[in-house]
């Protein structure tokens, strides 16, 4: 596959008029990070390690703000402070307190970015993933990169 074709694949299709010629197009991606297995206290963090990790994340945040790519970002508490609610519409809602030993993955936070290509979203995710962990080593935590769906009404045909 040629480079152009790859580029084509990764850019969102606008509702290109007429011939439906596809164009590069800013698109929103949600970058999702889960809590580290075993919780935030896992591993041997020194104060310096924590500082380095925070500085790494802050630098990314500032860069994305300055470039006009950051739409929003939030961090979430761990499962200890979470509740899961389910309601069958009839009885009382069932509220379960965390932590949830069954849940392998638990969302820790997200970045919502509006970028010109999937490559750029992946680049941001990779830098986030490489935030230093215990001992200053890159953490290599998994970041999910998810295209955000739009309310757009693209043309269906030529």
């Amino acid at each position: 596959m040629s480079k152009d074709d790859q580029q084509l694949r990764r850019t969102r299709e606008g509702a290109a008029v007429g011939a439906g010629v596809k164009e590069a197009h800013p698109m929103k991606y949600m970058l999702l990070m889960n809590h580290a297995p075993g919780g935030p206290s896992a591993g041997e963090w020194t104060p310096e390690d924590r500082k380095a990790s925070g500085a790494h994340m802050m630098a990314i945040h500032e860069e994305l703000s300055a470039s006009g790519e950051l739409v929003g970002a939030e961090g979430l508490t761990g499962p200890e402070a979470a509740k899961i609610v389910a309601h069958d519409g009839v009885g009382a809602p069932v509220v379960t307190d965390g932590p949830f030993p069954e849940a392998k993955e638990f969302l820790a936070g997200y970045w919502l970015v509006d970028v010109e290509s999937e490559e750029r979203a992946i680049e941001i995710a990779a830098r986030t993933s490489a935030a230093p962990g215990p001992g200053g080593k890159p953490g290599a935590r998994e970041i999910q990169v998810r295209p955000v769906m739009t309310r757009d009404a693209p043309d269906l045909e030529p």
Binding site: M1, L8, G18, S65, S67, M149, D152
Partner: protein, 407 residues
């Protein structure tokens, strides 16, 4: 005392004109834009209370020029800049025709040093006179995010060393191509807006048409400019029929053609008819010609598909774009049957692998050929891959319709 909304309308009209004048005089878009914004803010606070001055444009230009001078002084490049200004001033008074300034401004905002994604908001702000908040709303991002994007775009133009002057000769041709491309994308941004829910966004199409009209009136003999305007009008004409009351997509074949805008179609057809024989055939002329054939057809069945197929053939040769091939496959199916269309898709597996539109067209052609089961599978794959909620719903609905018929 003047009503606030009247002042706002006036300022929106005058903003780009004043910016054009100040940018030309000082040769710096980024600083001129900031100075004009300050002048507009001053007017927006003073005029509703104190009344609009006799010559509002001159008032704004004077205030903006004063701010500009302050700015240059502050920046500490005083001597160098003032020499530059002194050289420019006598030959280039700020009272030159508005349209030339607006056109020059448009060419600067669509400078090839910028990606279209940066050029579009800058154009809307500087030439369209939209506020950053309005642009942010149209693109569904926070205002601060859009402000940064516009500011970066201005800095990039500054860094590229581009000057406030209309390009000439072969440079004009290249730069015009960038301008048309940006306007085309701007139109598409607005055209993709689903009706009702995204009013701010759909106004982008109106702005694209307004700016393309401006380019067309300055360069009336350029067939690609005329064709791009025609293409926009011919598509805009179908807007009322292309989505249903709930925002659901209505395919061309099922659209209520009585809801198409006849006046826009007439104007678009006249433009493309006049443009086609004038010179080298370009992409926009071919696209507009195809759109005109659709718009002129009384029904989907009465469409001149052989002609559309031929035009897609030309467009494919010109662009080499696999998306064009996809559209040619649909036209081929309409002319020679679904088998002909499916045969054209064979070559696309590699070039559009994983793209939802390939699956969507594949599904459509399989449905035409009577292979419901395979069509359902491709509709579902396409639905899982599209990023448009409306398109996903449409594709799943097609699949459900086939399931109901098969079962």
């Amino acid at each position: 005392v003047t009503s606030t909304s009247r002042v706002e309308d006036l300022l929106r009209d005058l903003g780009p004109q004043v910016l054009g004048a100040v940018a030309r005089r000082y040769g710096d878009l980024a600083d001129a834009e900031d100075s004009v914004q300050e002048a507009l803010v001053a007017a927006a606070t003073q005029w509703p209370a104190e009344g609009v001055p006799d010559d509002p444009r001159a008032w704004l230009t004077t205030v903006a020029a004063r701010r500009m001078t302050d700015r240059l002084r502050r920046e500490g490049a005083r001597r160098r800049r003032e020499v530059a200004v002194a050289v420019r001033e006598p030959v280039d008074p700020p009272s030159a025709p508005d349209r030339d300034d607006s056109l020059t401004l448009l060419f600067l905002c669509c400078h090839p040093a910028l990606t279209p994604a940066s050029a579009i908001p800058l154009t809307l702000r500087a030439v369209g006179g939209l506020t950053t908040a309005e642009i942010a709303r149209a693109f569904l991002v926070p205002e601060a995010t859009m402000a940064q994007r516009i500011s970066r775009a201005k800095q990039r133009i500054k860094a590229s060393g581009a000057s406030f002057a209309m390009p000439t000769g072969s440079e004009l041709r290249d730069r015009l191509r960038s301008v048309l491309h940006v306007l085309y994308l701007l139109f598409n941004e607005g055209y993709a807006a689903s009706s009702g829910a995204q009013v701010a966004r759909s106004e982008l199409s109106a702005e694209a048409i307004r700016l393309t009209r401006m380019v067309h009136s300055s360069l009336p003999d350029d067939p690609e400019v005329a064709a791009l305007l025609a293409l926009m009008l011919l598509n805009e004409a179908r807007r009322p029929a292309r989505t249903g009351p709930g925002g659901e997509l209505v395919p061309l074949a099922e659209q209520d053609r009585s809801r198409w805008d006849r006046a826009l179609i007439e104007e678009g057809v006249a433009l493309v008819t006049a443009a086609l024989p004038t010179g080298a055939v370009g992409e926009y002329q071919l696209q507009a010609a195809i759109a005109a054939l659709h718009d002129e057809a009384e029904s989907a069945e009465a469409t001149d598909w052989p002609q559309i197929l031929a035009l897609y053939g030309l467009l494919e040769r010109m662009t080499g774009n696999p998306m064009v091939t996809l559209n040619r496959a649909v036209a081929a199916a309409m002319v020679d049957g679904p088998g002909a269309g499916l045969a054209l898709l064979d070559g696309l597996d590699d070039r559009l692998a994983g793209h939802h539109r390939l699956d969507a067209v594949h599904a459509h052609l399989l449905e035409m050929s009577g292979d419901g089961e395979a069509a359902i599978a491709h509709y579902q794959t396409a639905a899982a891959r599209t990023t448009s909620i409306a398109e996903r719903d449409y594709l799943l609905m097609r699949a459900a319709g086939l399931t109901a018929r098969n079962g």
